[in-house]
């Protein structure tokens, strides 16, 4: 059993030689290519992730931009609508006011016309009544004045006239 705890120098030598050679050879043949492949893959993954992250950031930026634009548009639409409503209100008021004014004018003018026509009609009526009464009076007068009275009146008027205008006095 002493052989168990008595290291054999020869085997130790072989072990070290073997191991050192293995390290040198495997670094070239096995671990080198393996690490290269792994590093390449890791780089590719990193690159992919980077690309994906930038794409996502881009997308988020665009999204936020769109959202802000959307809210801006909404606000604009609302303000435009409000404006339009206010102006329409104003327009309506103006129209109603104008309509009211023109209606008042029409009412006023027609009343004036009616008044004028009424006056005209009254004047007409009065004239006609006056004429008719004059004519009726004339007729009545014509009927009442007889010939004698007319000659008395005529001679009276003639005498008055001769007194006023002696030059016209006829010699009788």
């Amino acid at each position: 059993m002493e052989a168990l705890i008595r290291p054999e120098f020869g085997l130790m030598f072989w072990t070290i030689t073997c191991f050192v050679l293995l390290v040198l050879l495997l670094s070239k043949t096995a671990w080198g290519p393996l690490m290269q492949a792994v590093n390449e893959r890791e780089r590719a993954i990193k690159h992919d992730r980077h690309t994906a992250e930038t794409a996502r950031a881009e997308a988020e930026k665009i999204k936020s931009e769109l959202e802000t634009r959307l809210t801006e548009l909404k606000a604009e639409i609302r303000s435009r609508m409000d404006e339009a409503r206010v102006s329409a209100e104003k327009e309506k008021d103006i129209l109603i006011e104008e309509a009211r004014k023109s209606a008042a004018i029409i009412v006023e003018s027609s009343r004036r016309e009616i008044e004028a026509q009424k006056l005209e009609a009254a004047r007409d009526l009065r004239n006609k009544v006056a004429e008719l009464s004059v004519m009726a009076a004339e007729r009545i007068m014509m009927k009442q004045l007889d010939h004698r009275a007319n000659t008395d009146l005529a001679s009276k008027y003639l005498a008055e006239l001769e007194k006023e205008r002696p030059d016209l006095k006829m010699e009788c």
Binding site: M1, A3, L4, I5, R6, P7, E8, F9, G10, L11, M12, F13, W14, T15, I16, C18, F19, V20, L21, L22, V23, L25, L26, S27, T29, A30, W31, G32, P33, L34, M35, A37, V38
Partner: protein, 253 residues
């Protein structure tokens, strides 16, 4: 045949041949064969798996990738910092070599090379070299040794603490070596003991032996599963502690 012989047969290395080179003797043994098999798997199967583009092998590729990434993200980088990326090859190789050596011990006719003190000492020595290499490379030779003693220690304690810290350097590596060795050997010893129970009780009476057999086999299966877990765990622990020590050598705080 006693338990001692059985244990020796199963746990201790079988040396098949020795050849001498100068004054040193180099054995060709079962654990060396396991080391060779593990190296072959690592050198041939891993590069093929990693380079292959076939869908059928994709799961294996993913497993290797997941483990290497775990070592990079959870073990190396937190301890060594971002300069540690250069050491990923070392830590990955260390992990997979220990793991495959551990697992080969669970394969029939296999043996745990990591249950051999020589192998674990070899691994611990490379770790020791790595710790000091990384520390000196990061802080410079003078800075490294100046920072061996933690900050805030009174000056008069330096003569006492400096040797302690120097010993600590060695102890870290030594602990690594012993930990892996003991963990791998313990499972095998427990399994062999459980199997031996059958024959120990069987020597009392055959009936008792048969009665004990199912219990023993059940316990052996449980221990085998535990060993499977320990195989992964110890590989991870070895790598993790190496990373912590290396990180501590690189960034003294």
């Amino acid at each position: 045949m006693g338990l001692k012989e059985i244990l020796e047969h199963h746990i201790v290395d079988h040396v098949w041949a020795r050849f001498t080179l100068g004054t040193h003797v180099f054995p060709v043994s079962k654990h060396l064969l396991m080391l060779g098999i593990a190296s072959l798997i690592l050198l041939v199967v891993f590069p093929l798996l990693i380079r292959s583009r076939s869908a059928a092998l994709a799961p294996f590729r993913s497993i290797i990738e997941i483990i290497v990434l775990f070592i990079r993200d959870e073990v190396v980088v937190p301890n060594l910092g971002h300069k540690g990326a250069a050491y990923i090859g070392y830590f990955s190789t260390l992990f997979f070599l220990i793991l495959i050596l551990n697992l080969l011990g669970l394969v029939p006719y296999g043996a745990s090379a990591t249950g051999n003190l020589a192998v674990t000492t070899g691994l611990a020595l490379t770790t020791f070299v790595l710790i000091n290499f990384a520390g000196i490379k990061e802080q410079g030779l003078v800075g490294y040794f100046a920072h061996l003693v933690p900050k805030g220690v009174p000056v008069w304690l330096y003569p006492l603490l400096f040797p302690i810290e120097l010993i600590g350097l060695v102890t870290k590596a030594f602990a690594l070596c012993i930990r892996l060795f003991a963990n791998m050997i313990a499972g095998h010893i427990v399994i062999l003991s459980f199997i031996s129970f059958i024959f120990i009780f069987g020597s009392l009476s055959v009936a008792v032996g048969f009665a004990v057999a199912p219990i023993s086999v059940g316990l052996v299966l449980f221990t085998l599963l535990l060993e499977l877990f320990v195989a992964f765990l110890q590989a991870y622990v070895f790598v993790f502690l190496t990373a912590i020590f290396t990180g501590a050598a690189m960034h003294p705080h």
